[in-house]
């Protein structure tokens, strides 16, 4: 009987020691706190480059518009192409999915509103004052026709431009499916 108690006590004691050692090891190896607000890299000044070349042009967010993202700025640029616009839109949607977990939904104006910050995180990869957004809140292609957003699922949005003839579902339409030809993000 005494022997059974001795064995039980030893096993229990060993269990406690192992548990305490595990907790101790875990807490000791835990990474130190790295607050997000302190992770921003320092801005590199011209003198820090160590050369005579001019400093690289770095676009920074305006302080009075913290949600603004330059991601969509090339969209519809006069020196761009519709293929480039589609790539920009793909990046905008991909960026939105990364932040919100799924595509925006609805018709053009509803999608634009969500891309411009009307979402639970106020994330705005598409600035609300983007030059390609018309007075009705719709995003226009480079020929002035609203893009047509076709939601296939939460992560796949087919985008269609009516093309130069400005009529949807004609041979000159340009169609792109963001995410279809790349790894899931």
């Amino acid at each position: 009987m005494h022997r059974r108690i001795l064995v039980s006590t030893t096993v229990l004691g060993l269990g406690v020691v192992v548990t305490l050692w595990t907790i101790h090891t875990w807490t000791r190896t835990a990474p130190t706190e790295t607050p997000l607000e302190r992770t921003a890299p320092p801005i590199r000044s011209a003198t820090s480059t160590g050369s005579d070349s001019p400093p690289p042009q770095v676009r920074v967010h305006e302080r009075d518009d913290p949600g603004r993202s330059p991601l969509a700025d090339p969209l519809g640029a006069t020196d761009g192409t519709i293929a480039g616009d589609m790539r920009v839109l793909e990046d905008v949607l991909s960026n939105y999915r990364l932040a919100l977990g799924a595509n925006p939904w609805g018709a053009n104006a509803e999608i634009v509103a969500q891309l411009s910050g009307s979402n639970r995180r106020a994330h705005a990869p598409l600035p609300a004052d983007h030059h390609a957004i018309d007075s009705e809140g719709r995003l226009l292609d480079r020929w002035g026709t609203p893009f047509f957003f076709h939601a296939l699922d939460a992560r796949t949005m087919e985008v269609r431009s009516a093309g130069p003839d400005r009529e949807l579902y004609t041979p000159d339409d340009v169609v792109h499916t963001p995410g279809a030809d790349r790894r899931p993000d």
């Binding site: 018709a107 939601a151 296939l152 699922d153 796949t156 579902y169």
Partner: protein, 461 residues
């Protein structure tokens, strides 16, 4: 991050994990208990069924989002004029549509290609459910516009909305269909539990997937056998060797499970094929279309269901091509014609087989389509009209509230997307009750049902 924060996170993690585990097992365990109850208690069972009965529930899913705005059209002159004005290029001429006079009043018409549906409606074998859609709780236009409404995730997205329709759980990510949940609950009623009661003519789908229920796919020509065993030219020695391998004693659980399920599949195929061989195809002609062929096989399988020991079976069929963004007038007409002809043939076949009262067919679709046009088609909508057919249906009526066909009117989110006034949960629960699920079990099957005024829409007798 300090130690206290880390420990708190671990506790939170464990707590959340426990909650998640409880959440995911809750429905499963309750359904399992209900099944035991059903098997063990007769007379006062969890189901409203008597012995010897048989019922088949047939889902016809219209993939892509059917434009039911043109399937059921207002016929009264003033209402038709409003329809024609707003629908613009998509409006069907009043002289072409097929008028119906619902028993509850009103004046409507079917699409010109829907002659079969008009016949069935007039014979009171078909009912229309107006403006049904995925909802968590009732939504008003004001709620929607202000952003204060609880909405299903990813409205207007094909994949998400088809899955939500089939789940009747718009706020859940679990891919368990309401047909599968009903099957989980009722499988023990069947004498034959070896063959799944969930038979699909259109492949694997969410609607029939349950916690225990698995989908049994069948082609419109019959069971799909294991290729090597079916071909006459394969050496009989090899066939024997294959079946012999399946009968070997195995220690590995996975291998044993695979061998067991393969053996069951072979046996099930033989059973069903033999039963089909003994039951001639219906004399009723079916259209040689994809849906026609699917419904013909479903009619035959429903006929032999009781012979195989079934008292309840659920069937799944589907049609694609309803995503009519362009060229809608012609494409939709063809689709509606195929649907209507197949429905009429199925009804006539069930009459021929004497099982008309035992087989109920209902439609489902991703969503409705916008009332306004985007060129020659329509965009993704929300609320949609649906069809229910069978001898047990209170046919010749339109159930639910028909939306006011006014863009930016009281039923519109904007752009002619009707806010559903009947939820998929209510629609599904009414069908589930007819199938034999007791009212007390409905909240477990349809957790959001209590958010709506009625759990029985009254379209089933």
């Amino acid at each position: 991050m300090n130690t206290a924060t880390r420990n708190l996170s671990r506790r939170a993690f464990l707590k959340r994990g426990a909650c998640a585990a409880l959440g995911t097992t809750g429905l499963l365990s309750t359904l399992a208990q209900l099944r035991v109850l059903a098997a063990g208690v007769s007379g006062q069972s969890a189901f409203s069924v008597s012995s010897g009965d048989y019922k088949a529930l047939v889902c016809v899913f219209l993939y892509g989002g059917n434009d039911a705005n043109n399937l059921v059209v207002p016929y009264e002159q003033q209402a038709y004029d409003n329809y024609a004005r707003s629908r613009s290029i998509l409006a069907l001429p009043r002289s072409d549509v097929l008028p119906i006079s619902p028993l509850g009043g009103g004046s409507y018409a079917f699409h010109p290609a829907a002659t079969g549906l008009q016949t069935l409606f007039n014979e009171r074998r078909l009912a229309v459910l107006a403006n049904v859609g995925t909802l968590i709780a009732p939504v008003t236009r004001a709620d929607y516009r202000s952003g204060s409404a609880a909405l299903p995730a990813q409205l207007f997205s094909h994949s998400d909305q088809s899955v939500q329709w089939q789940m009747a759980l718009p706020d859940s990510s679990r891919k368990i269909g309401w047909g599968g949940r009903v099957a989980d609950l009722m499988a023990s009623l069947n004498e034959n539990e070896q063959i799944s009661m969930a038979v699909s003519l259109a492949g694997i789908n969410t609607w029939q997937a349950g916690n225990q229920t698995v989908v049994y796919p069948v082609s419109h020509d019959g069971v799909v056998g294991i290729d090597m065993l079916e071909r006459e030219w394969v050496d009989p020695v090899r066939k024997d060797a294959f079946t012999g391998l399946l009968e070997l004693e195995r220690r590995n659980l996975f291998e044993r499970s695979i061998a067991g399920s393969t053996s069951r599949t072979i046996e099930n195929n033989r059973l069903i094929a033999a039963a089909l061989d003994q039951t001639p195809p219906p004399n009723t002609p079916f259209p040689e279309t994809e849906l026609g062929r699917q419904l013909r096989m479903i009619a035959r399988l429903a006929r032999i269901g009781p012979t195989l020991g079934f008292r309840r079976q659920i069937f799944f069929a589907s049609m694609g091509g309803w995503d009519t963004h362009d060229g809608q007038i012609d494409a939709h007409s063809e689709l509606v014609g195929e649907l209507a002809a197949a429905f009429l043939a199925f009804n006539r076949a069930t009459v021929e087989y004497g099982i008309e009262d035992k087989a109920t067919v209902f439609t489902a679709s991703d969503f409705g389509r916008t009332f306004s046009t985007n060129g020659k088609g329509s965009d993704h909508g929300w609320g949609n009209h649906h069809l229910v057919m069978g001898g047990a249906v209170q046919g010749g009526r339109i159930f639910g509230r028909f939306p006011e066909l006014i863009v930016n009117g009281p039923d519109d989110t904007g752009q002619g997307r009707w806010i559903p006034t009947t939820s998929v949960d209510q629609y599904s629960a009414t069908l589930a009750r007819w199938f034999g699920v007791d009212a007390s079990n409905l909240p477990e099957l349809f957790p959001n049902l209590g958010n709506f005024a009625s759990s029985d829409l009254g379209f089933m007798s």
